[in-house]
Amino acid sequence: MRFFKISSQTFIAPVITALLFLAIFKLAFSGDGRSMGSVSFAEFLVPGLTLMALMTAAFANASFSLMFEKIVETIVDTLMPPMTPNELVIGYVLSSTTRGLLVGSAVLLAMTFFVNLNIHSWPLVIFYAISASILMSLLGLITAIWAEKIDHVASINNFVILPLTFLSGTFYSTQFLPETFAKIAHFNPFFYLIDGFRYGFIGAHDGNLKIGMLILILLMLMFWLLCVKLFSSGYKLRS
């Protein structure tokens, strides 16, 4: 319920920002009718922007929610009830995943007014949307547990999450990158998220989908275990 209270910041703002990006790129490109493979640039862009909004929202929700509780010292009210670490992680992750998915759907819905969208494969779209939210929520939780001030969360956000999402093929195909950078980009897990999500829409991809899924599932599992371990040890949560 935390995020509904501030819905203008948590929903409308990301939708507007994503639409702005779409407008900028569409306008900047207009005139030369550029297309990416078989699809128009706008169709290429929409999945990237949607997933970017979704990931940012899921991360922000998990990290800020927990961080605030730590700072105002109400975290004890969440830790005290008889819940196992696993249940705590599920609770936090589910709520952040919800926010991520809601923001993602809102962005997508808003964009359908401007761009014609075809969906190649619903199951893949849903799979990638959910795994992206879960992955980012877990990452948000870990960040918030580790962080001691809002500053730390903001730094992770600005210096890790933002660059990784910007540079993982949201706005361009990794084929445009010089060879070495393209290779590096293929080690970025976010790249597989965006690439796979986009495949669900346009039916074309840059990277290897199977490897992508494997990496994602492994990462989720790893982060999940880490979260549970952090909660059960009480690291930086209990004094």
């Binding site: 501030i6 203008s8 910041q9 409308i12 703002a13 507007i16 920002t17 702005l20 407008a23 900028i24 790129f25 306008l27 900047a28 490109f29 207009s30 005139g31 030369d32 500053d151 903001a154 730094s155 600005n158 210096f159 933002l162 660059p163 910007f166 540079l167 949201t170 706005f171 361009y172 445009f176 990158l177």
Partner: protein, 268 residues
């Protein structure tokens, strides 16, 4: 009979400027953002450089806009965007957090005239905008050759924009009652305007109607003016731009002065 005036003489006439107070306020404002340098300076620098990378990769380097290469077109736009956003962010968040912490009184109590308060706050915000822009320019100049056509136009537009957005941030901070209000103005007004005023593409790309509206958008003239200062190419009228920047600055400063003087939403 009243005592001779000489006995009441105050060593310093009350109307003179309180330079020390002004300096203290200004340096307090500057130290505030330096304390959180990661968020206030480094983050915007990184974000702007990311924008550059993303746009240049997505467009290819060889595209031309007018007689300019795309990077020559983009760099001044990005620098102006950082000035606009950071100058605004500094004054607005500084004032709203002082209001929320209820320590704004410590700033209003000392013997500083409303004008001195306005100058202190706005200059603090402008400093942040300019420092970030210089950081961006410096960072970009390592990868892209940046030439300057007219240093006076660069300075005029950079300082004009920084001061204008500092004042606008101050007005927003004074008007706002919660952090939400400040972020609403940032997300729904400042960000769209700074994105859509010819930062990333020439406004001729807009549909007819928006294109015509853009000629009334002050942000467009500031971006255009700064771009002229760097590249010697402008897309709008430089003269209109200068008049615009000066008159808007004047108007916003008057509003700030008047708000601080009346104590609107600052004093109970």
């Amino acid at each position: 009979m009243s005592p001779p005036i000489t006995e009441l003489k105050i060593t310093k006439p009350i109307s003179s400027t309180n330079w020390r107070g002004l300096w203290t306020l200004y340096s307090r404002e500057v130290r505030r953002f330096i304390k959180i340098i990661g968020q206030t300076l480094l983050a915007p620098i990184i974000t702007t450089i990311l924008f550059l990378i993303v746009f240049v990769v997505a467009f290819g380097k060889d595209r031309q806009i007018g007689e300019l290469s795309y990077t020559e077109f983009l760099v001044p736009g990005l620098m102006m965007m950082t000035i606009l956003q950071n100058a605004f962010a500094n004054t607005s968040t500084s004032i709203i957090s002082q209001k929320l912490n209820e320590n704004i009184i410590d700033t209003l109590m000392p013997p500083l005239s409303p004008l001195e308060l306005v100058v202190g706050f706005v200059m603090g915000g402008a400093t942040r905008g300019l420092v970030v822009a210089i950081g961006v320019g410096f960072g970009l100049s390592l990868v892209i050759p940046i030439s300057i056509n007219s240093i006076s136009m660069v300075i005029f537009h950079a300082v004009g924009a920084a001061s204008m957005m500092g004042a606008l941030g101050m007005i927003t901070g004074i008007w706002a009652e919660k952090f939400d209000h400040v972020s609403t103005v940032t997300n729904f007004i400042i960000l769209p305007l700074s994105f859509l005023s010819g930062t990333f593409f020439p406004i001729t790309r807009f549909p007819e109607l928006l294109h015509n509206i853009s000629y009334y958008n002050p942000f467009f003239y500031m971006i255009d003016g700064l771009r002229y200062g760097f590249s010697g190419q402008s897309f709008g009228s430089l003269f209109t731009g200068i008049i615009y920047v000066l008159s808007i600055n004047f108007a916003l400063w008057v509003i700030c002065y008047w708000l601080v003087k009346s104590g609107y939403k600052l004093k109970a």
